[in-house]
Amino acid sequence: MSAIYGLYATPQAAQHAVDGLRAAGIGDARITIMSSEPFEEHEFAQRDRATWMGWIALGGAIVGLTFATWLTRMTELAWPLPTGNMPIVAWWPNLIVMFELTMLGGILAAVATMLVAASLPRRRPAFYDTAVGEGRILVGVENPTDAAVVERALSAAGVDVRRL
């Protein structure tokens, strides 16, 4: 894998570099950005925002609820022990177990979706620079077909362009 990238000290400079790459005809999908914090207020950090995570978490919660309903009902019927004058399938106490497993299902589904969607875990980042940990913002292009154009766009913000 090859890459050309620049390391920017400020989000404004990173935004400038991203705009330069777009102006040079490089699509968002080909531009790689990495930072040590989210920079929510800047446009370059707004991409890839849409997610189904909420719906998947809801699905996980429904699976949890279904499982809990089956577990409590099945076990009470499998060993029908009269307790405290309650019916064999006692919904009031069962609701507690059903609530807990519903929430557990939702939480686990959200975390699993987060890991899959963020491509985690992976052995080590294929394309990375430890300067990101120092607070620099990495803007680059992986496997560039038009290296000169990319280099020109990245260096317009006044940084040294690096190659991988």
Binding site: A78, E100, L101, V111, S119, G135
Partner: protein
């Protein structure tokens, strides 16, 4: 935020991970010795039998269940407070959240140990879990003790994930700034984090969903712990207000635990630049509010019982307020209301030291409150021939002390290996402040122009 500020922030918060003084080893050895003593005492109790404790008919629940309820209460400091502050986007939460979430994880682990310590044959603890035995006898889902299993395991799982997910970017930061074995270990823990916008958005979405899910779970946990008592026809237990009363008490003691932990971190890790007096003042106000809420619940409970004049319940009420438990009861009132109200309602006294003093009192008072819920009621049930008394024996006292040492030890070790303040979240907060300042300056310049 300048690059120099960001670097200073990272350096300050990573210093405890990269530099170790002899004091750390001394503290770990001291706490480890107490924990080891506690483990040996537990082994002795298991070997000799439950007769080594002061637990006997009719008081089958005493120190251990008091500790169980107390530690589950302390666990409400973290995830619940952190989740609420995250949802309302309180800016001052950023240095506080991880300190708080760690308390939840460790307090839950310690709390969950007590039902096992309380078992005569602890190796059979797995009977509490819902598994089918070879005779297809399942745990009774209508028992509040089985609800505890589901509530605590759900809360523990959610809280650990809520704690661990935002640690991933910080692990990546440590990975980038270290070498050798440390780099390898933190590289594994960072899971290959790069910090792309996609990863940031997914992390924040997951945290948002978990914050929404974890709040009702946290409330349910202590409500279910209260059901262990309120489902039983025992004087002063069988009450509809026990759920909210326990939840309020749990948040109350949890905030107190958090203030003590933050003050210790500030002092010993030199985090004065990040844990400001305003954090303590805000938490102090929350503590004051919870103190008033707790007092309201105690008043409502006691008035209802006194006015109802049901003989068995009034007997328990009297024994706590005027009888053998009165010194403990009035100490509880002083610790949970008089001291925090006096200190925290006066702005001049709401300093870091004032908040810590109030918090220590609240922790003592809340432990006493749990004890006074458990023991007097069991010792004075409906028929006088079943009455009894309880005196704790050395094994219970040693194990109780050991769990406080275990909590401190786990917290110390955690703050040694993980940044105790979320570095990336702190940077986000600093950026927001910086951007707001810039906007204000631009606005002022625009207005000054003719």
């Amino acid at each position: 935020m300048s690059e120099a500020t960001a670097r200073k922030m990272s350096d300050d918060l990573l210093r405890p991970l990269l530099q170790t003084s002899w004091r750390f080893y001394l503290l770990v050895a001291f706490l480890g010795a107490i924990v080891l003593t506690g483990l040996c005492t537990w082994a002795y109790q298991v070997y000799m039998g439950f007769g080594m404790t002061g637990i006997n008919m009719p008081i089958y629940w005493a120190f251990y269940i008091t500790n169980f309820v107390f530690w589950i209460g302390i666990s409400h400091a973290g995830t619940l407070i952190s989740a609420i502050l995250r949802l309302v986007n309180a800016g001052w939460r950023r240095p506080v959240t991880r300190c708080a979430e760690v308390i939840t994880a460790f307090a839950l682990m310690i709390g969950a140990l007590f039902p096992i310590i309380h078992l005569g044959r602890p190796w059979l603890f797995f009977w509490l879990t819902p598994y089918p035995s070879n005779r297809m006898i399942w745990p009774n889902f209508r028992s509040p003790l089985v609800w505890d299993f589901f509530a605590i395991s759900t809360y523990l799982t959610g809280s650990v994930l809520f704690l661990v997910l935002p640690m991933i970017p910080d692990f990546a930061l440590v990975r980038d700034r270290t070498a050798g074995v440390r780099r390898k270990v933190y590289g594994v823990l960072a899971l290959g984090w790069q910090g792309t916008p996609r990863q940031w958005h997914r992390l924040e979405s997951a945290m948002q969903i978990m914050a929404i899910a974890i709040i009702p779970v946290a409330v349910s946990v202590h409500t279910i712990v209260s059901f262990d008592f309120s489902m039983a026809p025992v004087p002063m237990w069988h009450s509809t207000m026990f759920g909210p009363y326990f939840v309020a008490g749990a948040i109350f003691s949890g905030i107190a635990g958090l203030i003590i932990a933050m003050a210790a971190l500030r002092k010993f890790l030199h985090l004065e630049d990040y844990l400001h007096p305003i954090h303590f003042q805000n938490l102090g106000k929350l503590l004051l509010m919870m103190s008033l809420l707790w007092t309201y619940f105690v008043f409502a409970e006691r008035l209802t019982i006194w006015y109802g004049n049901e003989s068995a319940e009034v007997r328990v009420l009297r024994v706590t307020q005027k009888g053998s438990f009165a010194p403990l009861y009035w100490t509880m009132v002083v610790c949970n209301f008089v001291v925090p109200f006096t200190i925290l309602s006066l702005r001049r006294l709401r300093t870091i030291a004032g908040c810590v003093i109030a918090s220590f009192c609240v922790c003592i008072g809340m432990w006493l409150e749990r004890f006074l819920i458990v023991v007097p009621s069991l010792g004075h049930k409906y028929l006088p021939y079943t009455w009894g008394q309880y005196r704790p024996r050395p094994v219970e006292i040693i194990i109780t002390i050991a769990t406080f040492a275990a909590m401190t030890l786990l917290y110390t070790l955690f703050s040694k290996f993980v940044p105790i303040i979320s570095i990336w979240e702190l940077k986000v907060g600093e950026h927001a402040v910086h951007e707001a300042r810039l906007q204000r300056a631009e606005h002022a310049i625009g207005e000054a122009r003719p």
